[in-house]
């Protein structure tokens, strides 16, 4: 009995091997057979190159690093005027206002966590350029899979301040029904998939959505944001390989901000950043200065065009710096110097470079800056106060959306909860909640 099992198994393997070999053989036979070249080309399935007789290993350390594409100098002038995307004044002002509004919102929500008003928060300091530069270059219908530090993308698409606040408070007006931790935003209307806490899970999912887009031929692409730390997850490999093999229209946008919580890039990878991996997967790639909003904009615009017209993935590695702590659960002074942070904050900051450009155009000045600071702070505080005084959701919403229709066991739990709360209502702070039905 055992022998027959083994024989079947071996026959199965053998048949399969033969089958595969014959496919490959048919493909290469004509070329090989008629070749007149002295140096035959290798016919191994799955490679394309030449034979050599010199014993030599390839050392990536000998190669020049992948260059960083930049358009603006620190004073806000175009290094090569041909790279100016010539955006109009209104667009430029919206870009600037979104970046700075994001900043102000971060400050208020970060402090509110420190005061114990919300449980958690993550700031976007230093990475505003990658958010707004990329978001502005996309079609608003393009589907976004964020990691968790892409609030600026959502802001660019028109997610209102009070919605950010409602989400962080998990109150009755949170469109996410208070289900998720702060900063795990999502909006179907704005084509922004709800953030998943588990690192890099969004990456293969983004490739899957891009496959659906490829089938629909809808002229849109998927954009998947991730950090250089997330790129170490197995999911990243799966996402790159599947997107390339299935020829999916997707932009993988890596925010290389120098740190994965406390882990610096030198402890994260040995090679030349994340961009160097693209060629291994057969992907197009570019590395950009993430603190140069126009460089990010141009690269994203071109990547979008390439990935849709050629139906293939494109990788953008935006080099930037995380000025804030990883999250409110982190104190980054334990692993990096104040001087280092201060350099990026003061000397190479995406917002200040962009402001120089605006001033050079005559679109911005000290007066406007002062006024906008006041106005934006007011807007944020108004939304903040609104969210804080808002009631919490209906208690029974706890049981909704586990399935599209509520099964009996969950209905029973809900009924038990309602009866219990009604019976002992004096022990529950029901005045803070929307009423039980």
């Amino acid at each position: 009995m055992h022998r027959s099992f083994l024989r079947v198994f071996r026959n199965g393997e053998l048949l399969r091997f033969k089958f595969r070999a014959s496919v490959a053989f048919n493909k290469v036979l004509p070329q090989t057979y008629y070749s007149t070249s002295e140096a035959d080309k290798p016919n191994f399935p799955g490679s394309r190159s030449v034979f050599v007789s010199k014993l030599e290993f390839i050392d990536p350390d000998n190669a020049e690093g992948i260059p960083v594409y930049r358009t603006l100098n620190p004073e806000g002038h175009f290094i090569d005027p041909s790279q100016d995307p010539k955006l109009d004044e209104n667009t430029i002002l919206k870009m600037y206002k979104d970046m700075t509004l994001l900043n102000t919102m971060d400050r208020v929500l970060y402090d509110s966590q420190r005061q114990g008003r919300i449980s958690f928060y993550m700031t976007n300091y230093g990475e505003e350029g990658t958010h707004i530069g990329s978001a502005a270059a996309l079609n608003p219908q393009d589907l976004i899979f964020g990691q968790y530090r892409e609030a600026g993308v959502l802001m660019w698409r028109g997610f209102p301040l009070h919605q950010f606040m409602h989400q962080c408070y998990g109150n009755a007006k949170d469109i996410g029904k208070g289900r998720q931790m702060p900063v795990h935003y999502g909006s179907r209307a704005l084509n922004f998939v709800t953030i998943s806490s588990t690192l890099a899970t969004q990456m293969p999912q983004a490739s899957g959505s891009a496959y659906a887009f490829k089938r629909k031929q809808n002229g849109l692409c998927v954009v998947c944001y991730f950090g250089e730390g997330a790129a170490s997850e197995g999911d990243a490999h799966a996402a790159f390989n599947f997107a390339a093999v299935l020829s999916c229209p997707i932009i993988f946008f890596c925010r290389n901000n120098g740190y994965a919580i406390s882990t610096p890039t030198k402890d994260q990878y040995r090679g030349d950043g994340i961009a160097s991996r693209a060629s291994g997967y057969g992907m197009l790639c570019i590395r950009v200065d993430g603190n140069d909003v126009f460089a990010v904009y141009n690269a994203t615009k071109m990547a979008r065009q390439l990935c849709i017209s050629q139906s293939r993935p494109v990788l953008i590695e935006a080099m930037t710096y995380r000025i804030g702590h990883h999250s409110t659960s982190d104190d980054s002074s334990a692993y990096r110097s104040v001087d280092e942070v201060s350099y990026w904050d003061k000397t190479d900051n995406p917002i200040s470079r962009f402001r120089h450009y605006m001033a050079n155009q005559g679109w911005w000045d000290e007066e406007k800056e002062k006024q906008w600071k006041l106005d934006s702070r007011k807007m944020v505080m108004k939304a903040f106060a609104e969210a804080e005084s808002e009631k919490r959701g209906r208690p029974e919403s706890l049981f909704e959306d586990v399935y599209d229709e509520m099964p009996d066991n969950i209905k029973r739990q809900m009924t038990e909860m309602k009866n219990h709360v009604k019976l002992y209502k004096e022990h529950y702070p029901l005045e803070h909640y929307q009423p039980l039905s």
């Binding site: 393997e13 179907r188 998943s196 293969p204 999912q205 490739s207 899957g208 999911d235």
Partner: protein
């Protein structure tokens, strides 16, 4: 992860088919109307084919599902009929194609994600649980993930510890998932079709040893509109002395045991769970109130198993007061599966184990 394609031992299957043939003929109430027989494999294949034909958004992806017709030939002929856009061979990364399937579902497709066996789904469990099962809830009902994860589950034959285990209890613990563990060809067809049409993520646990077994199919079951409700158990055999509850292949073992006991005047009621989540406790409770005795049977391990859950539910229900004896569980042995056939047989529930449990429950020699 990939293992060598494994085949079940022909003689085991033949023996099993014979036993099943006997019991089904005796037990199926509608047997006189059954014009046809179908293997479990062909029933699954028909379900896939019909749903792929019915709905353009349905697609099948996994390792070897297209060119090779599936490691167990469940997807035979589907590539030729539905094309490579719908039947997709993927690179060998479970986490990858499970994630791709979740993303495709988020973007409006209805993927069927085949794990060559559920043992390999461990590589992808984060995508199944943290993403597929929870996204609808976490997005406040905005992002549905209609997806079917399917493939063979439970012990096969002679493939050792890493290829022989039941994941029924693992997945059935997770809110947001529906978990189906079919037994017969009819179950497979009707439930797989329902799973594909269901808007929620469904884990569909097949059994490799059942693939080659031919079973009766009623005329309704042969129809392309045949659906079975998810969450409803089936009473495979009526009885009044004791209730046997099982899922998947163990239902067949229970039917064999019931057949043997019937000759001794003991009438077992055999419940085929069909769905593990949501669990049809009503059918079990009603039956126990009638028979006053309960034995659960499963191929999986005892701790936190499906049997444990059933015992707990019965304790908490009205049926508790009707029990005349403690509930007993017949399960796989609490060890990783050994390879040697002699040991493997001992590690899985056999008819004799069920007979012993029934005698113990009824307090007869």
């Amino acid at each position: 992860m990939k293992m060598a394609t494994f085949c079940c031992r022909i003689s085991t299957v033949a023996r099993h088919a014979k036993a099943l043939g006997n019991t089904t003929r005796l037990l199926t109430t509608s047997s006189h109307r059954c014009a046809q027989q179908l293997t479990v494999r062909d029933a699954l294949n028909a379900a896939l084919d019909e749903e792929l034909t019915r709905d353009e958004t349905v697609l099948l992806m996994g390792e070897e599902v297209a060119q090779y017709d599936g490691a167990y030939k469940v997807s035979k002929g589907l590539l030729a009929k539905h094309g490579e856009k719908r039947i997709i061979d993927t690179p060998i990364t479970e986490m990858g194609f499970a994630g791709i399937a979740v993303g495709a579902a988020m973007a409006g497709l209805r993927p069927i994600c085949e794990f060559m066996t559920f043992n390999f789904s461990m590589q992808a469990i984060d995508q199944v649980i943290n993403s597929a099962a929870k996204t609808f809830y976490m997005s406040a009902g905005r992002v549905p993930v209609p997806i079917v994860f399917r493939g063979p589950n439970g012990a096969a034959a002679g493939v050792g510890a890493q290829h022989s285990q039941c994941f029924g209890s693992w997945y059935s613990q997770v809110p947001g998932l529906k978990v189906i563990s079919p037994y017969s060809a009819e179950d497979c067809k009707g439930l797989l079709k329902s799973a594909i049409r269901d808007p929620n993520p469904v884990v569909f646990l097949e059994n490799e040893l059942m693939y080659g077994i031919s079973m009766d199919m009623s005329d309704e079951a042969m129809s392309k509109d045949f659906l079975l409700p998810i969450g409803k158990a089936k009473i495979e055999r009526q009885g009044k002395h004791i209730t046997l509850v099982a899922h998947s292949k163990s239902v067949g073992t229970c039917l064999e045991a019931a057949n043997e006991l019937a000759g001794k005047g003991i009438e077992c009621e055999v419940i085929n769970l069909r769905t593990l989540r949501p669990l049809d406790e009503e059918t079990i409770i009603k039956s126990v109130i009638k028979t006053n005795h309960l034995v659960t049977v499963e191929g999986g391990w005892p701790q936190c198993g499906i049997g444990s859950e059933i015992v707990a539910r019965v304790m908490e229900s009205a049926a508790f007061n009707y029990l005349d004896a403690p509930v007993l569980r017949v399960t796989g042995a609490d060890v990783p599966m050994p390879y040697a056939k002699s040991l493997e047989d001992l590690a899985l529930p056999q008819v004799k184990n069920i007979l012993t449990a029934v005698r113990k429950s009824l307090n007869i020699k």
